[in-house]
Amino acid sequence: MASNREGARGLPRLINVPGTRLIAALLTALALGYIAWKIGQAPPQALQFAFNGLAVGAVYALLALGFTLVYSTVWFFDLYYGAAAALGAYGVFYLRTDPALGSRLDINSLPVNVIFGAVVAGVFAWTLHTMIEPRLRRRASPAVLRTGVAVVAVAMGIYTAIVLSYPEHLQLTLSPAVGLATAAVAIAITQRVAHSVASRVNATLVALIAAAPAAVLGAWCGYLLSGAPGAGLYLSWAVSCLLAGCVGLALYRGLYVYMRERARSPLIMLVASLGILLAIAALIVIVFQSAPRPLPDAFGSTPWNIGGARIKGFNVFAIGVALAGFAGMWLLLKMTSFGRAVRAIGDDEEVSKVVGINTTVIIAVVFFIGAMYAAMAGILTGHDTALQPRMGLLLLLKGWIASVVGGIGNLYGAIVGGFVLGLVEQFGIWDLAGEWKDAISFGLLILFLSFWPQGLLPRR
């Protein structure tokens, strides 16, 4: 397991056959030469392919980022990842009320809503149990605390089910939650600022003073939201990302924790998550049918003309999301104590447990964040092309390839690998039919594993 990481990764060592480097250099030169020749032939078309490559690469980069985060923490391939991408995309489809989509109301089904409500209730119960209960232990009896946690968790579950049941009123049903979240964030920020200005200040007093303006701010935000019909799209994105993340967290806490205790090899975890992927993919077909489903055009669907190439505003937005996702992940990992804990667990889980890191909580949050990244990537793909039940497995594999190309376990490698994979795929299908692109990306993977198994940017 974690102690046997080199073995777990199964990366081949660099081959020391003398010709290997030469072949690798030749291949690179050939590829670059081909691209240069192509660019010389038809510059506008090359620009078009580069745009497409970047747009596709943004999705791969997002996938690879989340994938890298999870993989470099627990060192097993969690195939739920693909399911998270599909869940995110289908979640938006489920929640969109666009009349053009037609049969949405046929799809909304009570069992689905109840299942997700139960998952959210479980996640809330666990979160409150691990985060809030220890702090209040001295002020209330355990029985009261238990009951309180249970009540809040069940209430959240019911709330989630209600939100999912009435997707056409998403702004309305979600505005209290957004208001509350805004108020909570405002209070937390005030407290943090007050603490850094004068460290002896009474935290409770500050919180009480800040509560009133924060409540007003929250209510105002909620009010604004409830009156903004255009916000439904973004809210549906947020909801389906959060739900996919909750499922990821629930899977880790409810299943993987027990499995990792006894697993002899990472393959056990891989096969178990394969089972989850199979089950979720089949459930998606049962709920949504196997025919491809379109998502409504988000925005900027009319292409711009830049230098003879056409690019959609949405693709630019996707690239922006990938970069923002990278920046967020970088800040999270390099700047916060949470990030230090994550890196410590990635280096050695046993020792980090010994020095007092609550590994279960940290890893659960890592799974949550990773699944949210995957869901976002799935949503971006869904808006760009169409939804298919099989998209999850393919997206998962693409993210996996991107992280291998960039260098497994390296954050910078993930984003570089994503864009490189996207560009190679798009330039590769210049002379071939578009259906070859999956074969091309796997060919790239096999080349990389044969000649540069450490990837473009190796992990230190």
Binding site: V271, G275, I286, E435, D438
Partner: protein, 351 residues
């Protein structure tokens, strides 16, 4: 550890002395499961009429050949391969292209010549071509282990699917190939489904015999040792890569055989029969039945076929979703197995 010979002797002994059966059955989960599966199969046959049951049994035979062959790689050698469907597809397409006489015109290349060869002349070619492909793929894949091997084998499955879908001048792309011939010996064709079932069962027995021979030989013991500790067996002077390559090629040849049979049985194939999902399902069959156990693979394939056919009788599942419902059950079973029984139902190797 010699593996299956004891099991077979055990079965033979039990068949002679039924009183032993009761004593033996306690704590032998494999026997119980086999009995349950056979009983379920019998009930199913009674409920659904002969024609349906013969079809299901043929499907079982083909999946069983695939599962037994994959078990050589996954169970005995410890390489979790998800690319087996590629070799299956190569076998099936060889059979389809060389035996079909259906005319096919393409816009650019004109009329594609058809061959119309007989089944038994093409079947060895299916096996050889799948083996050759496996040799090429295996040389590249040989140095990967564990997770990375899983990833590249996914890759092989997807590349093979792309080739089936896009190499239109040979495979006719998404249209598929019609009019694949049934086997024929002299004037007698295996036209009837029962006759074909018998043929498939003969091939299944043949494949099981070879697998049994491999796994009980010294070659099989080296494979088991590679699974347990590759470096240790290399210290003893065995080239692990050669052994892995050999078993990979053998397994692929069996899959090619299964592909040839499948093409001839359905008489029509298109790339949708060889998607990645089939491969994933196949792996889950092997793990479900039991790693490093030939009987386990049979049990897994039987459970797989029975699950789908059995789902038809459940009233609350619409008929068009039986395959999906089976997939859900299979996925949940996999998770439960990994939690409580990582060697599969009757397996001898914990993943």
């Amino acid at each position: 550890m010699p593996v299956n010979i004891e099991g077979i002797r055990e079965f033979a002994r039990l068949a002679r002395e039924p009183s032993e059966l009761v004593r033996h059955a306690r704590g032998n989960i494999g026997l119980w499961l086999t009995l349950i599966a056979v009983a379920a199969a019998a009930v199913f046959m009674l409920m659904s009429g002969t024609k349906f049951a013969v079809g299901a049994a043929t499907l079982f035979a083909i999946w069983a050949i695939l599962a037994v062959s994959l078990n050589l790689v996954v169970g005995y050698t410890g390489l979790l391969s998800v690319g087996h469907v590629g070799f299956f597809g190569i076998g099936a397409y060889t059979m389809a292209v060389l035996t079909s006489e259906a005319p096919y015109e393409q816009l650019r290349t004109g009329v594609i010549p058809t061959f119309g060869w007989p089944f038994f002349a093409v079947l060895p070619l299916c096996i050889v071509l799948a083996g050759l492909a496996a040799l090429i793929v295996g040389v590249v894949f040989n140095r990967f282990r564990d997770d990375i091997f899983v990833l590249v084998s996914f890759g092989f499955a997807i590349i093979a699917y792309s080739v089936f879908l896009n190499l239109r001048s040979v495979t006719r792309g998404a249209f598929g190939i019609h009019e694949i011939v049934r086997p024929q010996i002299g004037a007698w064709t295996f036209d009837g489904n029962v006759a074909f079932l018998l043929l498939a069962l003969v091939f299944l027995g043949f494949v099981m015999l070879i697998s049994w021979f491999i796994t009980t030989s010294s070659f099989g013991r080296v494979l088991t040792a590679i699974r347990e500790d590759e470096q240790a067996i290399e210290v003893f002077g065995y080239q692990a890569t050669h052994f892995k390559l050999a078993v990979w090629v053998i397994s692929a040849m069996m899959a090619g055989l299964a592909g040839g049979l499948f093409a001839s049985w359905t008489r029509f194939i298109d790339p949708n029969s060889f998607i990645l999902l089939e491969s994933v399902l196949l792996v889950s069959i092997v793990i479900l039945g039991g790693l490093a156990s030939i009987w386990g693979s049979l049990l897994g394939a039987m459970a797989f076929v029975l699950l789908e056919e059995g789902m038809r009788f459940l009233p609350f599942i619409p008929t068009e979703y039986t395959g999906q419902a089976r997939q859900v059950v299979l996925g949940i079973l996999l998770v439960l197995l990994m939690l409580f029984r990582p060697q599969g139902l009757v397996g001898r190797f914990r993943l």
